[in-house]
């Protein structure tokens, strides 16, 4: 079906539906946050009612047309990259907060509600929604569910999957189905857990019920400077080992600290090899007690200086360097490639050293800004896409880093998702039997593979072609390389 015919057929089949079908008007939808990949869909549709979403899916199911759902388009792995022969289902207009229920400490939301808007709406009831991806001003709750989004405060309050009560989906056939409910448990298989983070492969989110939490009385940030990246990584493990779970624990290496300082002047020590930001929350007397314990651990771990925020203003200033770190690093090179691997916390120092060695060998600088408390690394590989093999070299280093994470018992993605970006890396984390189960689970929801095809789960053929990439039972792909 050509673009014009499909647009007309959809408009006829779904009364009142906004259909976008000219290349110029489709341009804003050609990529998500992973802008290196671009593809125009055949058409984009912007339903403003759940019934329209159902009608679009019914139409596409009948006509065997692929459907890619899109929230705010802030995803970093190409999960919402359109399908050339498909419909892009944009859920941005379904953006109403349906209910804030302070008694039940929950909120019922349409999928296009922005993450930050939930906490803003809950604040008058002294409640907040905890998962806070860095894109929280723009990203939407439907996308958060699809990606199982994380954020700075996941260390203490959990990921999206830990903060959901129910999700209503439209199935590939166009039917409504609610997974979970208003209660904390439901009989039967935990399909809500399976659906969370399924990257649009299993169904389209049209309503989300999230848990809200009481807002802590007070928050403060400790900034600790370290003379080596290794010591800072070990300090993170030491805080957790001491039985303290801070609200957030973030690390930045020297390159990131200097870039952030040049960009926003947050007052970071420019000469530090690494800076650790540790957020604590609670009643003032509780904070005082925890602060003392954390400071003792950090000093013992080799912190060369510790600054404590003494006001909300100071706290926000200390955070500003971290929150602006990505754009700040972006000023250091024409392009950067953001990785998202996770590792057990005890290997943080070791893996950061190993990344530095690989960065030097590849001749590509790497800045590290990441959720250290969760063991979730975000190495930013600096490169120039305009040099002949710039992209290829950056990707090669990226895959090497992800293979390193897998070898250390970690994962190729902690919160950004697989999308199309990490399909190859998936082959290093999973063997054919697991991939076969993923395929079968996909088919249980979407037997004809119409929902977000080609994303999240690589084909066995793709992994077979990569061959040498596969890290089986902890063996690195290049055993000849020196280990650090």
């Amino acid at each position: 079906m050509d673009r014009h015919t499909l647009a007309q057929a959809l408009a006829r089949a779904v009364p009142g539906l906004e259909v976008v079908a000219t290349p110029e008007a489709l341009r804003p939808f050609e990529s998500d946050g992973l802008t290196a990949l671009r593809q125009l869909p055949l058409v984009a549709v912007l339903p403003d009612r759940v019934e329209q979403v159902q009608a679009v899916l019914r139409f596409c199911f009948e006509a065997k047309i692929p459907v890619v759902a899109r929230g705010a388009g802030t995803g970093l792995s190409g999960g919402a990259l359109p399908c050339e022969a498909g419909v892009l289902l944009v859920l941005a207009k379904l953006n109403r907060i349906l209910e804030i229920n302070p008694m039940r400490q929950c909120a019922r939301l349409q999928p296009g509600v922005r993450n930050l808007a939930i906490s803003e709406a809950a604040a008058p009831h002294d409640l907040f929604y905890a998962p806070d991806p860095s894109s929280q001003i723009a990203c939407s709750i439907g996308g958060n569910v699809a990606e199982n989004a994380g954020g700075v405060h996941c260390l203490k309050y959990g990921l999206t999957v830990h903060n959901l009560l129910a999700v209503t989906i439209v199935t590939v056939e166009g039917d409504l189905l609610t997974l979970g409910g208003p209660t904390l448990e439901a009989p039967g298989l935990d399909l809500l857990a399976l659906f969370t983070g399924s990257e649009g492969l299993l169904g389209v989110v049209v309503e989300v019920t999230v848990r809200l939490r009481p807002i802590p009385a007070q928050q403060e940030v400790l900034l600790a400077a370290f003379d080596s990246i290794r010591a800072s990584g070990d300090a993170v493990a030491a805080v957790i080992a001491a039985g303290i779970i801070p609200a957030g624990m973030e690390l930045m290496d020297k390159l990131a600290v200097q870039a952030a300082e040049d960009f926003v002047h947050a007052g970071y020590p420019r000469d530090a090899a690494a800076v650790l930001l540790c957020e604590l929350d609670g009643a003032p007397a509780v904070l005082a007690e925890t602060r003392e314990r954390v400071m003792a651990v950090l000093r013992a771990a080799g912190a060369s200086s510790i600054t404590v925020s003494d006001s909300d203003e100071a706290r926000l200033r200390l955070w500003s360097g971290r929150k602006n770190a990505f754009p700040a690093v972006g000023r250091l090179a024409p392009d950067y490639y953001c990785m998202d691997g996770t590792i057990p916390r005890r290997y943080l120092g070791e893996v950061l050293d190993a990344i530095a060695a690989r960065s030097e060998a590849a001749g590509l600088p790497v800045a590290n800004v990441f959720h250290a408390g969760d063991g979730n690394l975000h190495p930013l590989i600096l490169y120039d896409a305009n040099t002949p093999d710039g992209v290829a070299r950056a990707e090669a280093l990226g895959n090497e880093i992800l293979a390193l994470c897998v070898a250390y018992g970690g994962s190729v993605t902690g919160e950004h998702g697989v999308g199309v970006e990490k399909l190859d890396a998936m082959c290093s984390q999973f063997a054919p039997p697991e991939l076969a189960r993923f395929k079968a689970l996909k088919a249980a929801f979407d037997p004809e593979g119409l929902l977000n095809p080609g994303k999240a789960v690589p084909t066995l053929a793709r992994c077979a072609e990569l061959g040498g990439m596969h890290v089986h039972h902890g063996q690195l792909p290049h055993p000849e390389l020196p280990r650090l």
Binding site: N148, C154, E185, L194, N376, S411, K422
Partner: protein
């Protein structure tokens, strides 16, 4: 320089695993139904179900516990009490406070039933703490989902799907769980009141951020448990009011709530209900109640017919598990049941585990 990462264990070389895999393959080929079993201590919680036992209780032991990591990996046959004791020796615990049951009850059984205890609304559910599962699927193939890291969004979340799956998706071999440090101080406040009064007071107690890890009503007392640092616990307990219970008395009450606080009398049916916290107390004949999760979980023993309970449940959007005289779950929409069956089929294509021993919707 360092030793680098520990090599990943290759379970496919383990004779126990090889035998179990062969057993599954043969059963699948012969059309025999297998029931994955630990030490068979929780039969009363299972639907009566014809098939041969796949005995997994012997596959026991803690595989890896790195205290600094707050993660444990143990074989599914490990007795839960053994695991809990080993963690306690390192000052750590399971955040979901599961019922411990019989001394031989296993970790695998706990995951298969998916039951969380009093701390569930304030700390974590069992599925929240589940980081990774290694299992034999319905084709007898070894699969490893998730891992030992806190964050992992690669592939579908099959690990968490195993919580409450009643053995219908595969035979679990190794299980990785997130842990939490044991609190420095635990204190329980009690206030004598009736159930309506308790339910009316609970939302205000739950609205305060802080050290609350249990909110229940049992035997005419509203109970609020606080855990954490000494300063925080003292502050929150004082704000809650009531009298402070002696620790042994309090521990006894919380373990009663954890293990199941009501036993049905002759002629009564026992239910474990999941309800919105603001659901009213139902007027039912000879109803005895115990309440946990700040009103979100209610135990009910009653002579009322099941239909009356199920009608009351559907009116508030709740779910119920009839625990005695035999297990049965409250009805679910047909489309959801059908999807569950397809998901089970994805993990077990030949139906060798035949939907396990999960409670059905009929007697």
């Amino acid at each position: 320089m360092s030793a680098g990462p520990a090599p990943r264990r290759d379970l496919s070389l383990d004779p126990f695993v090889q035998d179990a895999a062969e057993r599954i393959r043969q059963a699948a080929a012969a059309g025999v139904v297998l029931i994955p079993r630990g030490n068979s201590t929780r039969d009363a919680a299972l639907r009566a179900h014809a098939g041969e036992a796949l005995a997994l209780g012997a596959y026991a032991g803690i595989v890896q516990h790195t205290p600094t990591e707050l993660v444990v990996t143990a074989r599914a046959g490990t007795p839960l009490r053994t695991l809990v004791a080993a963690l306690a020796a390192e000052g750590q615990r399971l955040p979901f406070e599961p019922p411990l049951g019989d001394p031989r009850a296993t970790l695998g059984g706990a995951v298969a039933l998916g039951t969380s205890g009093p701390a569930r609304p304030y700390r974590a559910a069992l599925r929240d703490a589940l980081l990774g599962v290694t299992l034999l699927d319905g084709t007898g193939t070894l699969c490893r989902f998730g891992g030992e890291v806190m964050k992992n969004v690669a592939g579908f979340d099959v690990s968490r799907l195993m919580a409450g799956s009643y053995g219908q998706l595969g035979a679990m071999l190794e299980i990785s769980l997130r842990l939490e440090p044991c609190p420095e101080v635990t204190q329980t406040q009690a206030l004598a009141c009736d159930l309506d009064d308790a339910l009316a007071r609970m939302p205000a107690l739950a609205a305060r951020p802080g050290a609350l890890t249990g909110l229940a009503w049992l035997d005419g007392q509203l109970l609020a448990r606080f855990e954490g640092g000494a300063v925080e616990v003292a502050l929150d307990a004082a704000a809650a009011g009531g009298e402070t219970l002696p620790p042994p008395v309090a521990d006894n009450l919380w373990s009663t709530l954890r293990e199941g606080p009501l036993a049905p009398l002759a002629g009564e049916h026992l239910w474990r209900l999941a309800l919105p916290v603001d659901a009213p107390v139902w007027a039912l004949p000879s109803a005895r109640w115990a309440v946990d999760w700040g009103g979100g979980r209610r135990w009910l023993s009653t002579t009322a017919p099941d239909a009356a309970v199920e009608q009351a449940l559907s009116a508030v959007g709740g779910h119920g598990l009839r625990v005695a005289p035999s297990v049965r779950r409250s009805p679910q929409p047909g489309a959801l049941r059908a999807l569950e069956a397809r998901v089970a089929g994805a993990m077990d294509p030949s139906g060798v585990f035949a939907h396990g021993a999960a409670p059905g919707e009929a007697d």
